[in-house]
Symmetry: C2
Subunit: 314 residues, 2 copies
């Protein structure tokens, strides 16, 4: 499944070929990289939207609502869901997956779960790679669902055009449940389950964090706080409106190109990190690394010269 | 002040030459690296002890007690103090510096303050470099004082033989005041100001964290919890005893060499990171980087190929 014909079939809409291509790319080895090199020039058309929030925030229910809305407008939607548990053990996200199952036979929707562990290149880099496949295959928008608790999730936020951060009342202090770096890159804040107790206070807290305390890096854009109730559907239109408004803002201000450049820069940086890790820890270079460390420990080589040997394979 | 003669004077005990050499190395440029390459083969003799804890924990008072004890035993002690504020604005550490001023005329003690910002190679790497100068100049032990709140401090902990983590009662929840990664690498825990209310509970909390919750990466070593009162001097002998016991443990178990290797590995990794940052952001390569990002954003070049161009300067 690495022939140009198979790739062409996958990108042309053959779902089984697409599934195989996604799996092959997710394996993140040399073959994956060769495939990506072929696919990458075909990308750059889809809007990528990150949707992040703690477990129990109702991300998947909200995503189901977004899929329905976009599909009704004739768009083909892809979802990349980064699960904290393996696809097999399931856990808390199993219910969400069942909820998304209603789209199982919908040819215009493709939902891909991804385990959050075991990715040699890192979750964020692999998420970007899968996004490239969907992008080249004509899906638009591409929704990337993450938990918003680790560095990986912050990295993912740098690889999408729009970052939606979900919060719900009743999970304790807002600041505690969010990785700090994530509010800085939020384009839209959503208070989901807004019919529940504490929703008003959460909206107020988020508003004051935005106006006073928390730095937000988005130029000339004040992140709106949208109240939704994914179970009833209330507020979903407001969220779609906010997403459209953010997209229009990016285009109107010229910020869109800056965002695309920032995404490219973040993905290059992830690839640099991966390549250095490979040179440090790869099975072939393991022996070399031990020898380098021993030479530095013995004062035969300076740490800096050792660093150059790793980077430049001198 | 880069001549071999000047380096020889600095390492032979000329304090003005030493001060100039430290400043030159701290500047962290090409000349610094050339100097370090000359100095590094002369190092590997001093014991390096990291002392970390939040502001107000009494680190400097305790260090003053340690200096007095080591000096009385005929040892030449160096201190590298990483200040969160600039040396000029002073702030909370000014009082500490005055307290350490008693050693100003003591030829066997050298105290070096280092601003925590503006180091191109990172605080941890620069701390290691200054340590190499003191090491080559015959100082032993070398005490490295840090705040224990950021990634830099965790990095510093990987560049010393023994990590002492200070806590004091009354600063709120233990877990909150410590960077999580720091307890994992603590060799000795100190509850300072142990005459104050809450000290017993803090000792109990730390003990249960060590026995139950918190992972500690130190093989075959149970970090002792030492109660001190730097102002009265109570418990300082116990801390010296714990430091000696840890050193003896490292030597007896063969763990000392493993630690030296780990320090070498950490310093190589910091140098790799610095070199990559230099290639990414250096003034000379800034234009190249923008061009690379633009090429990736335009889909003319894949992120992975761009990464290889940065690393391999292809």
């Amino acid at each position: 499944m690495t022939s140009t014909a198979a790739i062409a079939r996958a990108l042309a809409g053959d779902r089984r070929a697409l599934a195989r291509l996604l799996s092959r790319v997710e394996r993140d080895d040399e073959v994956s990289q060769t495939l990506l090199a072929q696919i990458y020039p075909l990308t750059g058309h889809a809007l990528r939207i990150g949707i992040t929030g703690p477990p129990g925030a109702g991300k998947s229910s909200l995503i189901a609502r977004l899929i329905a809305t976009y599909s009704a407008a004739g768009r083909r939607v892809a979802v990349i869901a980064v699960d904290p548990t393996s696809p097999i053990t399931g856990g808390a996200t199993l219910g969400d997956r069942i909820r998304l199952g209603e789209f199982h036979d919908d040819q215009s929707v493709y939902i891909r779960s991804m385990a959050s562990r075991g990715h040699r290149g890192g979750v964020a880099a692999t998420t970007a790679s899968l996004g490239h496949v969907f992008d080249a295959a004509g899906f638009d928008p591409i929704l990337v669902e993450t938990l918003g608790v680790g560095q990986d999730e912050v990295d993912v936020a740098h690889l999408v055009h729009t970052v939606v951060v979900l919060q719900v009342p009743g999970l304790g202090d807002t600041v505690q449940t969010l990785k700090a770096g994530l509010l800085e890159v939020a384009d839209i804040l959503v208070v989901n389950k807004s019919d529940q107790q504490g929703a008003d206070r959460l909206v107020r807290d988020l508003a004051s964090m935005l106006s006073l305390g928390v730095r937000n890096d988005r130029p000339r854009w004040s992140p709106p706080i949208v109240r939704t109730c994914a179970s009833s559907g209330d507020g979903v239109d407001d969220l779609i409106g906010a997403l459209d408004a953010h997209h229009a803002h990016l285009v109107a201000t010229g910020e869109f190109q800056a965002r695309v450049n920032a995404m490219a820069a973040a993905e290059i940086a992830l690839n640099i990190r991966r390549e250095i890790d490979r040179r440090l820890g790869g099975s072939s270079s393991g022996k070399d690394w031990s020898d380098l460390v021993a030479a530095v420990a013995e004062r035969e080589l300076s740490p800096r010269d050792a660093a150059h040997r790793v980077i430049d394979r001198r």
